[in-house]
């Protein structure tokens, strides 16, 4: 059920975009208005969410340490997994954000008879996540060539590198395949692992189906329909220059693809996809483990009721004196 609703929703969204233009002729709505709205919602939403997070302070420095601390001179510290300098934190964060280091640690736990608990390395999730995120990034950057004239060198470079395994015309991009394979893996593990299925919500399936929808429709447009790329670029440049045009040679399926992309942009700031920004702010990862070296300030630190020594001595003075323990007040 949690998977079915998002699947239907994504199919409907695609049809809305497609038929809304092909049948209803709402080109301005689907080709310009909604994309503009989506971009605005995405950026404003993103900023809003990050500002909201940032508005809550970090009262305590609570890094999770994953290696040897910096203590005695002759014990070699682990400056990345247990950073004690800003540079160490930056390296830790970079490894986390670029290479999902924590996920790479993943293990699989099994219970054998005995009982015997057995742990084995499990890099599939890491592999799937890396494959998806990186190919998605490459594809995003590749799409920059539609929005830029002249196309920046790095976009051209990526476009060529991605199309290295040319198997005919149009150029076959490795990432098109990797993206869909990775997303399928991420979806299938959610559907077939009993534990994952148990915890998965509509909020988990929807972005997966949405991304698969975007990937498939893009794949279709490029490799099957072979839509008029030049016309698509004309449309894209029109959007960028705020003079939208809707060339007739653009396949109506394209508007289905575009509408799914817009949905993603609009949905993004209100969803778990915000982990993209959130990972930068995580206090267990982005702080140095220098707690005993440098005092961390809590902006809302307030006085609390304590049991002072004087009160303590009042409670126990006679007993202390009898036991020969020195007291402040005789």
């Amino acid at each position: 059920m949690n998977a079915l609703i998002p699947l239907i929703a994504v199919i409907v969204l695609f049809l809305v975009g497609w038929l809304g233009t092909d049948q209803a002729g709402l080109y301005v709505l689907f080709g310009a208005a909604i994309p503009y709205i989506a971009i605005v919602v995405f950026f404003c939403g993103l900023v809003y969410r990050v500002v909201r997070w940032a508005a809550s302070p970090v009262p305590f420095r609570i890094p999770t340490t994953c290696g040897q601390q910096k203590s005695l001179d002759w014990i070699r510290p682990n400056p990345v997994d247990n950073p004690y300098t800003l540079f160490g934190v930056l390296v830790r964060m970079a490894l986390e954000i670029l290479f999902f280091r924590s996920l790479l640690r993943n293990t699989k736990t099994e219970l054998k008879s005995g009982p015997r608990v057995v742990y084995s390395s499990n890099i599939w999730l890491w592999l799937g996540a890396m494959a998806f995120h990186w190919s998605f990034l490459v594809i995003l950057i590749r799409h920059m060539r539609f929005f830029t004239e002249p196309v920046p060198f790095f976009v051209t470079f990526l476009h060529q590198a991605d199309g290295f395994f040319q198997v005919g015309v149009p150029i076959f991009y490795a990432t098109s395949f990797i993206l869909l394979a990775a997303l399928s893996y991420l979806l299938l593990r959610r559907l077939f692992s009993p534990q994952l299925r148990y915890i998965s919500l509509v909020n988990d399936y929807f972005p997966l189906f949405l991304l698969i929808g975007i990937g498939l429709s893009g794949f279709w447009l490029r490799y099957i329909t072979k839509t008029d790329i030049v016309a698509v670029k004309e449309l894209a440049l029109g959007l960028v220059s705020f003079t939208p045009t809707f060339p007739e040679s653009v396949s109506p399926l394209f508007y289905g693809h575009l509408f799914l992309v817009c949905t993603l942009f609009i949905y993004f700031p209100f969803s778990k996809l915000m982990h993209m920004a959130g990972v930068f702010l995580s206090p267990t990862r982005n702080l140095a483990n220098n707690n005993r070296m440098v005092r961390h300030i809590n902006p809302w630190n307030y006085p609390v009721k304590v049991h002072t020594y004087e009160e303590y001595e009042d409670d126990f003075r006679e007993k202390m004196k009898k036991a020969g323990i020195v007291v402040e007040k005789e």
């Binding site: 996540a129 534990q195 982990h275 304590v306």
Partner: protein, 553 residues
């Protein structure tokens, strides 16, 4: 023989307990109510303790009864409490928002591994709170409700929170594996704070808190009692070594204030660790003092609320100031060090009246503690050994084949991994590591941390102790390991039970017990008995040559 009750290990058949089904039940988790079966939950906090601490809604109530006697406006209280915490803790807000339910944490929790209850998967533990957060604090949740994982706050939700937030030991193992560092300890701490607003505490936590507030320590040992205890230890030490150790108490102008968890005063084998400190300090002629007021290093406030951490922790710096010491030395404890390291300075600092700790024996300046002015005894002793300041005869420990249990907090909140290993390898020639996935930052909890180590919670303790117990049994079978060293008072108390059940024959020890037994003391008599007052087995010839086979990573 009487029929065993659920608070004893005899009640639990190993075959049955380890027949674990990881398959979640049919039907959604929101529709699966809590089953309060005996052995899996903890008695409620007594009203008198809540009253003493000025905590809300003090009353007597029963977990298995329907009516938990919550306040009229309990719902409003919880939601207001949540809103307040969301604006005060970025961790809480962020962790409510960014989880993608990737499932990497699922099989990292010792309670899930040992029990299979899906709500002990860290992700689902957090969803217990997140579902309410979505319902009352997000637009999508408000509109779409259950379909997007939102649900209404009901008394059943509160009961579920109580059950599962007291089935988390805040060990942070899952946080190591989370790609966003989501820390279930934070989630559990928030959950417990919210429960606290309704007067829902467990007695195993709140009684020690009340004791600690009044007497300075969790066990409620009064000043004269502490003095008696230490004198009793000194007698035992004299009996074992022939050396009469000094016991400075509340001594003004001492150089060092020594603070250790009060578990070390009462429960074996922690007591032997305490004797170990006493032997060490005496041999060094260290200018230190015990304090009857700051007689607790541990801090069950950590298992109660942030405010309670601060209320209990305040005495440490206050006492250091009153006594005019230069710096503070802390004993072997786990959660104590989470507090001393990650909270104390922020809450009750700055300790500008103290000096940067410097070992009077070696001259080493502990620059890593230059702000808190508090050094861990394992750091202190490792430094002593490195500088050759201790005369050690590790052969005396040759009958011991030891492994190290990395305690959760020293491992995952400090990263104190090599110091204890260095000491152990120098005081015992047979040191063996447990499997890689069960030590260092991946270490497993004893199953009784965060205030869960009480006998009425025995089923969960044994389940939670399975991964650790299993790793111990592995080295017991493979290397003949017969002692498990732990630098945590809760470990020393609860791992004894875990080992008795999952790896019978393995004893639990503190690090400084082994240190003191290996130390050659000035003016000592022939050492024939150890600090446990047990005969030291004569080293058989050749048995020691395999020693020092410690795996070094």
């Amino acid at each position: 023989m009487a029929t065993p009750t659920p608070d004893t290990i005899e009640y639990y058949k190993k075959e049955k307990l380890s027949d674990i089904d990881y398959e979640p039940p049919a039907g959604g988790w929101m529709d699966t109510p809590v089953n309060f079966r005996p052995g899996s939950w903890i008695y409620p906090g007594k009203a008198k303790h809540l009253q003493y601490l000025d905590l809300p809604n003090p009353r007597e109530w029963v977990v298995t009864e329907k009516d938990w006697k919550l306040q009229e406006n309990w719902k409003e209280i919880v939601l207001k409490g949540m809103s307040e915490r969301l604006s005060k803790y970025r961790s809480f807000k962020l962790f409510m928002d960014i989880c993608v339910r990737c499932g990497a944490c699922a099989d990292k929790c010792h309670f899930f591994i040992g029990g299979g209850d899906p709500k002990n998967m860290p992700v689902l533990r957090a969803e217990l709170l997140r579902s309410i957060y979505r319902n009352d604090f997000t637009a999508i949740g408000r509109v779409l409700g259950k379909i997007v994982g939102a649900r209404e706050l009901t008394e059943d939700v509160i009961k579920e929170w109580f059950y599962y937030f007291f089935q988390c030991t805040e060990c942070r193992r899952c946080s190591v594996f989370c790609p966003y560092g989501i820390d279930t300890a934070e989630i559990t701490m928030m959950g417990r704070e919210l429960l606290g607003l309704l007067g829902l505490y467990v007695n195993w936590v709140i009684e020690p808190v009340a004791n600690c507030f009044r007497t300075g320590n969790h066990l409620g040992i009064q000043p004269h009692g502490l003095k008696d205890t230490l004198e009793f230890f000194a007698d035992d030490i004299e009996n074992a070594t022939g050396v009469k150790v000094k016991i400075p108490i509340n001594k003004k102008g001492a150089e060092i204030l020594f603070v250790t968890p009060s578990g070390d005063f009462l429960a074996d084998p922690g007591t032997f660790t305490c004797m170990g400190y006493m032997v060490l300090f005496n041999e060094l002629d260290l200018d230190f003092t015990w304090s009857t007021y700051a007689s607790e290093g541990g801090n069950f406030g950590l298992f109660t609320s942030h405010e309670m951490i601060k209320r209990l922790n305040a005495k440490i710096y206050a006492e250091a100031k009153r006594l005019g010491v230069k710096w503070i030395l802390g004993g072997e404890c786990g959660h104590m060090w989470r507090v001393m390291h990650q909270y104390m300075d922020t809450m009750n600092g700055p300790a500008d009246f103290l000096q940067v700790p410097k070992s009077p024996i070696t001259g080493t300046v502990f620059d890593n503690a230059r702000s808190t002015k508090m050094v861990h005894i394992v750091e202190f002793t490792a430094d002593l050994i490195k500088h050759g300041k201790l005369k050690l005869d590790p052969k005396r420990n040759d009958h011991i084949r030891v492994t190290l249990h990395d305690s959760c907090n020293p491992a995952r909140a400090l990263g104190m991994l090599e110091e204890p290993r260095y000491i152990l390898k120098n005081v015992c020639r047979n040191f063996y590591e447990m499997p890689e996935n069960t030590i260092r930052e991946q270490t497993f909890c004893c199953g009784g941390g965060a205030g869960l180590g009480t006998d009425e919670n025995m089923e969960m303790r044994l389940r939670g102790g399975l991964p650790r117990g299993n790793a111990v049994r592995y080295v017991q079978e493979k290397y003949g390991v017969n002692q498990l060293a732990a630098m945590c008072a809760i470990d020393r108390a609860t791992l004894t039970t875990v080992c008795n059940y999952w790896a019978p024959g393995v004893l639990v020890t503190g690090i400084h017990e082994l240190v003191a037994n290996a130390m050659v003391l000035n003016g000592e008599k022939e050492r024939t008995i150890n600090l446990r007052q047990e005969e030291i087995p004569r080293a058989e010839s050749g048995s020691a040559e395999k020693g020092g086979a410690a795996d070094v990573r």
